[in-house]
Symmetry: C2
Subunit: 305 residues, 2 copies
């Protein structure tokens, strides 16, 4: 089944304790689609770039077989973000954000995208996310990302969106903001009551929690040898997660757990290089090998007392 991602394609300038890149390929739709394409044959992007967007980045995405029919090239400049990570590789400090053509982004789906089964709404204004949902004709799973900026700035629009989606992917802090609960587990259950049937709590280097009304699942992150650039970890996680589900064509709790494994492993590889350096070079075999090693280093039996 086809995967649809609506989000950003951007030019990122990123500095870390280990180095820096300038105007490198970035954006949620970029990371998501490259990760999803490892699993799903059909990945459709809806995004906008400016006339200045480098031709070789377009070629990179096209060369991977990602469908860019929904990528608008507008008059003006491409969305640019610049940030710096410190030694902890936690949340980056944003040095500069230039929305440029992204400011007027009003996602319109090409007609042949509307039947996409697995839809991911990248982190944009929740009213735009809702507009995308209304254009989808036969979704199997609609998932969304969001952030503190929208939770605080557009709470009503976000709550309306939550009623229309099946799955929400956010971090632990966002769960607490959205629910007002101190306890992550109580907060997660409160978020489920707002609409989505599935909540995926991304905890970065600390792993992931998956929760539905009936099931709870916790998993550690893959212990990366050396983080180079954490940018795109969440989006590559989401891309592999949705791409894997699309390749199966179904959603049940065991498939969701396996999707979380796929997401964890691809995200762990993505952070091993700047921009999409590592992600763009990955093969399915690389992913399989690390997934198997991951199973090995996480397996245990409980004590018999």
């Amino acid at each position: 089944m086809a995967v649809l991602i609506v989000g950003s394609v951007a030019l990122d300038s990123v500095a870390t304790p280990g180095g820096r890149v300038d105007n490198a390929l970035g954006g949620s739709a970029t990371y998501f689609s490259l990760a999803a394409k490892l699993f799903s044959p059909e990945v459709n992007i809806v995004a906008v770039v400016g006339k200045d967007f480098p031709e070789h980045y377009l070629k990179l995405l096209l060369g991977k077989g990602i469908n860019l029919d929904g990528l608008t090239v507008s008059e003006g400049k491409t969305f640019r973000w610049s940030g710096v990570y410190d030694e902890s590789f936690g949340d980056p400090e944003t040095l500069d954000t230039q929305l440029n053509v992204f400011k007027a982004f009003a996602p319109e789906l090409p007609e042949h995208y509307c039947g996409s089964g697995f839809v991911f709404l990248g982190n944009i204004d929740p009213s735009l996310q809702s507009k995308v949902v209304s254009q989808i004709t036969a979704p199997k799973l609609v998932a969304a990302d969001t952030m503190n900026f929208w939770i605080e700035g557009k709470p009503n629009e976000l709550k309306a969106l939550l009623k229309d989606i099946d799955m929400l992917l956010i971090n632990a802090l966002e769960v607490r903001m959205l629910s007002g609960e101190r306890s992550l587990l109580k907060g997660a259950r409160a978020v489920l009551k707002m609409g989505p049937e599935i909540l995926v709590v991304k905890r970065g280097e600390h792993g992931v929690m998956l929760i539905t009304d009936e099931t709870l699942f916790v998993m550690p992150a893959y212990p990366v040898e050396e983080v180079i650039d954490p940018t795109g970890a969440g989006d590559s996680f989401a891309g592999a997660f949705m791409g894997y589900l699309a390749s199966r064509g179904k959603v049940d709790i065991d498939e969701l757990k396996r999707a979380a494994v796929a997401g964890t492993i691809v995200a762990s590889m993505n952070v091993e290089g700047f921009s999409v350096e590592r992600l763009a070079g990955l093969t399915k075999e690389d992913v399989i090998q690390r997934m198997e090693y991951f199973r090995e280093i996480t397996d245990f039996t409980v004590p018999e007392l």
Copy 2:
């Protein structure tokens, strides 16, 4: 086999967003021994308290069958610590530390303690920890805890100690401080080169990593419904870990993994109450039940691609 813990028995005053306790039973040896006693029939404490130490706290520990022959009651007041946790339940802010009789703590082992097979050196001056090691006659496993204060303040004494122990339990920040490595995994390997064969990296609500020259193991924490008081989480983890190993009488990689499960589960229960409220009331059956549920919520298979 017998478990020996050398550490503190203290009176803690703790405030959290959910409440507070004053002069409650605390200290590394207290949490450790209560947790270890769930698994091991013989648990020996070496610690010091003052004449003011409440009789009912002694009775609580004795009532659990913990051996207090090595608990000295000295002229003066008991070690007191006072701290406050914020909403994140991360590291507490210390409001007050009164070492009192603990200042002159010079651990002397009663003769019948010297044959203890499983020895845990709580977080005290590394030169005192080394003094304990020299009194042990036939250890099966010697483990130690330490902290930033000793890593910075007594680096040579700590390095001498590391050559004499089998296992070190520290947190991720301490691994980075001790090794000077940014990468946790590289740092962990550097710490192994300093002496211990086994490193257990405690990551609080984010789980645990166990590493030896040949093996890597990562595990998430148990998702606690509501944290009441994180004090003693690390020591109850260590107590259950060592107590479980002592109950088996052997140390191999599978037993170490199971010990980490035991530690994780007992620590998750300890934080559900102030002081030792929850820990002191636990039964083996409570622990077994949660371990089995933990196995259920962490189990997965990898995708077949």
